[in-house]
Point group: C2
């Protein structure tokens, strides 16, 4: 049994500041009161305990209050990604079988028509019904569901339980430490585990979150240089912009600033060197939706000694390489621990997430002789673009649904800004222009998944069993 | 599933310093290697996985290595209190049905004759057998067993599981924070939960422990004033001596020193005032063997605002007052959470430790309107003398076993040095001197339990149902 984090945190440290947004702030007691009230308003509108709902909105306090209200009702929250197309969202809403989508009014145009929904303003102006809010949660209760794509191109809804989130937050605190005056800057999306885990940690640790609606380089640099914040999570593309911002201003990180956690793909070594000159501690981390955030993190002290490594497993986690008996042998990365998802929902609900308790990530890597993890290739030709995961199969499926297309293959190509962007290789049946094909994709894929390049080719590289060899695609353009 | 703490800590931070004793120190890697070797030596001598053993020895590194060796073997360790009499130890050894007692050579005279035992030197010089050390522990596995007396006077062996210890350490870190350079000074006995929990925290947090063989005022004051240590656990009598030591030297606590956790009974308010003048942060805490250490802790900031309070529950814990519906209502203190023991061993193994998941402490207290706990009376007329719990019934049982004694009643009386000491009230059948009676007690009770005062009285105060009213005893001497 675990406490209802929101009630317990407000009980333990009611007057501590919990959230800062623009020129407003809220204590844990205030956040509890607002979220309990929202839960009662949701109840009035028919949202019941333990129901499965979806939620979408920009990063603002009202989104956090709404999420916490759902947590009071012990709902399973499907976190919808604002960057997806309507078709992609439609798939998730249907696959999850959600009862209703809670939508920030700003985002109403993002969701498919005819989706049963409640606008945030409707909820916020509703009457409040008296309800029973439980002050204990079980370990097994699903709090959040996030969709992640697989090799098939069909996104899978990953369960993240109370126990998963708690283990992740507690493992992390044993790694990076904790002080009462820590302030986490949240510029990553709340619908991703990178953002939501900042909220979870805040509730467990009792520390402040400073929330931005969007990543803002100038503001970020200012907060880091002045020491208004102590920690933040970023993807490589954000880190680069922060470094640039500090360099432009000839500024340095404040000594009060403690740590940048850099995840969502590898961080180029020269970023680390620049960060070091700017007095900015950076720890590379390796994690995923299925592990409710970090699994391994490289300490800042080891940054140069173990260049390119994602570090050691966090305290409650184990990492091994499949079929490997020696250090430095490459193979699939396997993960075990209380932070690993118990499984999926919807069409993949029968699929087990682990084999003998081990999550098979599909990622390729090795452990060196000191036990440091090096991630060589993200799973299944995964493309990571600005921290967003893109699975080639998803884009290929869309391209191949066009009647002019016979075959399609997608791979990631290097990009100075985003790390990687998707490039498509298409074998045609009948004539079509690049622009027509891109137009076709636009309604069906999130913007960041629209191929940056389309190459028309006579055939695709395939192996003996006719399987597409995506890694060979790159050779076409090199 | 949880990691074997010793292996995992050595894996995650092998080169960090783990232990300091006199002029020696050990890293986590070194401690792992020694303890694994000891486990293999124990195996040679016939100690098997999962067996129940007892352990006794002064606070020295070799005791810690031996405990960790037993933990590798997943033994249930009965922690024997060095201050008990042979008869008392005999009871525990028999009740627990231990296979063998591991004895530091220094303590061989403390254990009953004919006890199956292994001396530390025997173990340390034995051959090592190759064994399989598991790298995972289950939540339910019992790590330690500590005896605590009850109202009946028969001590109960309390199970403390992996999950109990972990929940306690993790709750505590969310309360007091963590920094990589924290150093806990351990001057409290390792056979008590106050001491053993310092070891558990060190393994989970990766921080250093500085161990003293015995409490030493001068050394303590020096370590605090110089900032050699950052945290320590004390009972009130030690706190007083530390304050005295700092005052005598006209010294102050170093700014590096972060916190004294003061448990094992109430701390007089003027100690807190003196500590404040000495720049020494003190947090009062309430906990017990059954909760694997702290359940509630008062933050230093609240020390004067909530004088006399033991604070708020730690994050994963809940506290309520039996049959109370309003703040400030007195009643029995009930505790719930993952740190609460699953139960007892030996003659009390059928007795449930909780009712509907709540531990009934027998202690009396109240929660104020802000949810702060005030402990008014420790359970069942418990006497706390220098941090050691003494149950009147234990002493009464011994006194009444003397043929000259008709009735006996024991209560605690104030003492400047120890907080409380036991006083006995005796109704005689036949004549006997005070000295003869004390001599009779000496073989049967630990020194600290020998009554400081014996009063011969014509009758004892009893209520309508003839139950001894121990609180009334004090009135005889006031």
């Amino acid at each position: 049994m675990n406490p209802n984090w929101i009630l317990q945190r407000a009980h333990v440290t009611p007057t501590r500041r919990a959230l800062i947004f623009e020129d407003q702030s809220w204590t844990f007691e205030e956040i509890k009161n607002i979220s309990v009230h929202r839960a009662k308003q949701l109840a009035t509108l028919g949202v019941q305990h333990y129901s499965r709902i979806a939620i979408i909105g920009p990063s603002q306090p009202r989104l956090i209050f709404m999420m916490y209200a759902c947590m009071h009702l012990q709902c399973e929250m499907v976190m919808l990604n604002r960057k997806l197309s309507k078709e992609e969202l439609q798939y998730q809403i249907e696959d999850a079988g959600v009862e209703v989508v809670l939508v920030d009014d700003e985002d109403i145009s993002l969701i498919p028509e005819n989706t049963p929904h409640l606008l945030f303003t409707t909820i916020e102006s509703s009457e409040a019904t008296s309800i029973n809010i439980h002050n204990e949660w079980s370990n097994e209760q699903t709090i959040s569901i996030m969709y992640t794509s697989g090799t098939t191109g069909f996104p899978k809804g990953v369960r993240q339980t109370v126990g998963n989130h708690q283990a992740s937050a507690l493992s992390s605190v044993l790694n990076i430490g904790l002080s009462e005056d820590d302030v986490w800057l949240c510029v990553v999306p709340l619908f991703h585990i990178s953002g939501f885990s900042i909220l979870v940690r805040s509730l467990l640790y009792g520390n402040q979150v400073k929330l931005y609606k969007k990543f803002d380089k100038e503001q970020c640099v200012n907060d880091i240089a002045k020491g208004n914040v102590t920690h933040m999570s970023v993807v490589a593309v954000m880190l680069e912009r922060i470094l640039q911002g500090l360099e432009e201003k000839d500024s340095q990180a404040s000594p009060k600033f403690k740590l940048i956690l850099a995840g969502g793909g590898p961080v180029p070594v020269h970023y680390l060197e620049r960060a070091s000159r700017l007095n900015l501690p950076v720890s590379q981390t390796y994690g995923m939706t299925e592990t409710s955030s970090q699994t391994a993190t490289l300490s800042n002290q080891d940054a140069f000694r173990k260049i390119g490594s994602a570090g050691k497993p966090l305290f409650f986690n184990q990492i091994k390489i499949a079929n490997s008996t020696m250090p430095n042998e490459e193979g699939e990365i396997l993960i075990r621990g209380p932070h690993v998802t118990p499984g999926y929902i919807g069409r993949f609900s029968d699929k087990s997430s682990t084999i003998d308790g081990w999550l098979h990530t599909g990622d390729i890597g090795y452990l060196d002789e000191d036990g440091y993890l090096y991630v060589l290739d993200r799973r299944s030709d995964l493309i990571i673009s600005g921290g967003e995961n893109i699975y080639p199969a998803e884009i290929e499926n869309v391209l191949m649904s066009h009647e002019a297309v016979r075959e399609a293959g997608v791979c990631g190509v290097e990009d100075d800004v985003w790390g990687q962007v998707p490039a498509a290789f298409v074998v045609l049946k009948t004539t079509i222009t690049e622009e027509e094909l891109l137009q076709f994709c636009r309604g069906k894929l999130g913007k960041y998944k629209i191929p940056k390049y389309i190459y028309f080719v006579p055939s695709l590289p395939r192996n003996g069993s006719n399987k597409l060899m995506r890694r060979k695609l790159k050779e076409y353009i090199m």
